[in-house]
Symmetry: C3
Subunit: 267 residues, 3 copies
């Protein structure tokens, strides 16, 4: 009975969230599945042009569980994680058109330098610099290098640092040091990206590179900060198209385990 | 005793297959290991030029267990899975020269949009469009967008959809939906690529991206549709050169388990 | 007590090694974190420019546990493994400036053709050919195609070949053949790269592509040939920045297990 009430409460929360996101992000624009034109795709595969139009443009990007703004962030994170600057330009434009601000985009790249490797972020810098120039985005629209940080949850940080010290300390003191500062004491506390969005792009990057062992920690963090169960599941759907079905099917059971654990711990 | 007979029968099947494939695909052409010229390779590493010539051109591509046509399909699938458009042009040309038709190539890219992610297929579209233009391949050589589909094995599809619904349904309803249509009810039933070849490129893409957990299902499907044990093993060898030894060594025990299970279930 | 003595002895070995490496490789040059200029990075993310300067240039590359020469080799291996030719040019130059010889660079690419796939090595050939030309590196600076090989440890090679024959023989005879020759009987015995460095780049490539199952064998080999525990741990730190935190956190426990096993087997 408690489970039923919890589920009902959760679905209310979910629908509130979906509505809020929808108002904020749902632009009435048509999302092309790629930077390549439909005519060029048809010149090699009429079927692929059809699948892109029917499944991606008309279905995936208009589906309720995730707002276009969220889908843009997820897709940009996937493309950075997989280092695909060609399509990244296309989806950077779509991100800006669906409600992601230049400041948020800047912060997404900064964040993924740590989670996808510096060279991937550098490819994204090249692409985004050109997009910013063409749109007249200037320095004052960007997050400061050293802003006032969000307040740190001291208890959670103590847990995190003790776990890392215990597990990694005897192996790689350098990794322990950089994981504290700049990673958790600086980057994660920067205010230019909402904690929920920061965790959302981290989870997206992990799914895109098949790093399933580390999805759990970051998905829990995302959901603690407001990502709904329906949104989490739909991130996997979005990843199927942009990072391939095998990565989605690898991630799904991991996401499922987190959802079950969170659901049962609330009963 | 039954095992001996089964093994003998299997080896007959294998040799029939190898002969058929050989007749169909074995062109008397010299396969350069890469788009980079041997002179350019020598300018950085005379040893790598030698290894490429001795191990790849003169040995790998002329080895019996896999026809040049199959090796081309495997290599093209690996390059699309790893998003390497530079060498993809080279091996697209080789594919067309060893018996892969433009229609099959078109269908391989369409298929891998789902298994390697849309952006990887889009890179392949760019490369292949240029190759088709230079060879005068026109629209009438390509598979239709919506052809009559192969008949569906209703029982197997019921099993598949029930398993996916049970495992993924509570997590990601969107993924369940798209996995049915367009993936299994449309793409997999398209007639422009033989079921055996469709599964072969799926397995190749999985090996190339280290997705070992999902090799089993697709390798069984490939072998149900005619891929021999010797061919399966040699796909791993081809992957060693084009996706690196670690991916081959990760895949080999998974392939081995499938071969043992199939062999024992026949006794 | 024996453990204490062993630890003390190990720390002496480590510091000797660090000193030797430091003298050899530590150039007083400032390492930019990427080929992208700091001004261009700032145009998208002032924060990322700051993190690169503070954490990478001023901290990571000047940290004691790994020499700049080693960091260059590790970074070049990571970039080849992840096929990122853009930054590879930048770090190829840094490698040559921090004590990696053209002959060693040539040999690193040759080695990684096998461990990261031929197409990745071919991208590296294009980049390195241009760097060699601009620096006037000519053919006589390169390792021979077929030099006299290092003497083979017959006993270890017997172990290796028996294990591979047992595990892979029934699945892929072709893979067994090429793993013997050219891989272990030729490539690994080439004298142009010290065995310790050859294993170091292999481990780096494995960490960079998330191939944790195969780190153990190669890390043991690296340490048998002189890589210290502190250096091994710091390779993971270097990988965090250039291949992303998730790959570093996947590798750390595997490295930790090897360090513990080696430490306890010495007591």
């Amino acid at each position: 009975m408690k489970g039923v009430i919890a589920a009902a409460a959760m679905s209310l929360v979910i629908s509130d969230f979906a509505n809020a996101e929808e108002k904020r992000g749902k632009a009435m624009i048509k999302i092309e599945p790629s930077a390549i034109s439909e005519a060029d795709i048809r010149a090699v595969s009429p079927a692929l042009a059809r699948f892109g139009r029917e499944a991606i443009t008309e279905d995936l990007w208009t589906s309720a569980p995730l707002s276009p703004r969220d889908r843009s962030m997820v897709t940009v994170a996937i493309l950075i994680a997989r280092n695909q600057p060609g399509d990244l330009k296309h989806f950077t434009e779509i991100a800006l058109d669906t409600g992601v601000t230049p400041a948020e985009l800047s912060e997404i790249i900064t964040h993924l330098a740590f989670y996808s490797g510096w060279p991937n972020a550098m490819s994204a810098i090249s692409v985004t610099k050109a997009v910013f120039e063409s749109r007249g985005v200037t320095a004052d629209a960007l997050p400061e290098a050293s802003p006032a940080l969000l307040p740190l949850n001291q208890e959670k940080e103590k847990q995190r640092s003790e776990t890392v010290e215990k597990n990694i300390g005897p192996i790689s003191p350098g990794l322990v040091k950089f994981t504290a500062d700049p990673l958790f004491l600086d980057l994660w506390q920067r205010p230019a990206l909402k904690p929920r969005d920061r965790s959302l792009i981290t989870v997206s990057a992990l799914i895109a590179s098949g790093q399933s062992a580390q999805i759990g920690y970051h998905l829990n963090r995302a959901m603690d900060n407001g990502l709904s169960a329906a949104e989490a599941g739909e991130v996997v759907t979005q990843a199927a198209f942009y990072a391939g079905w095998p990565n989605a099917f690898t991630a799904a059971p991991v996401v499922g385990e987190i959802l079950r654990n969170r659901s049962s711990s609330k009963e």
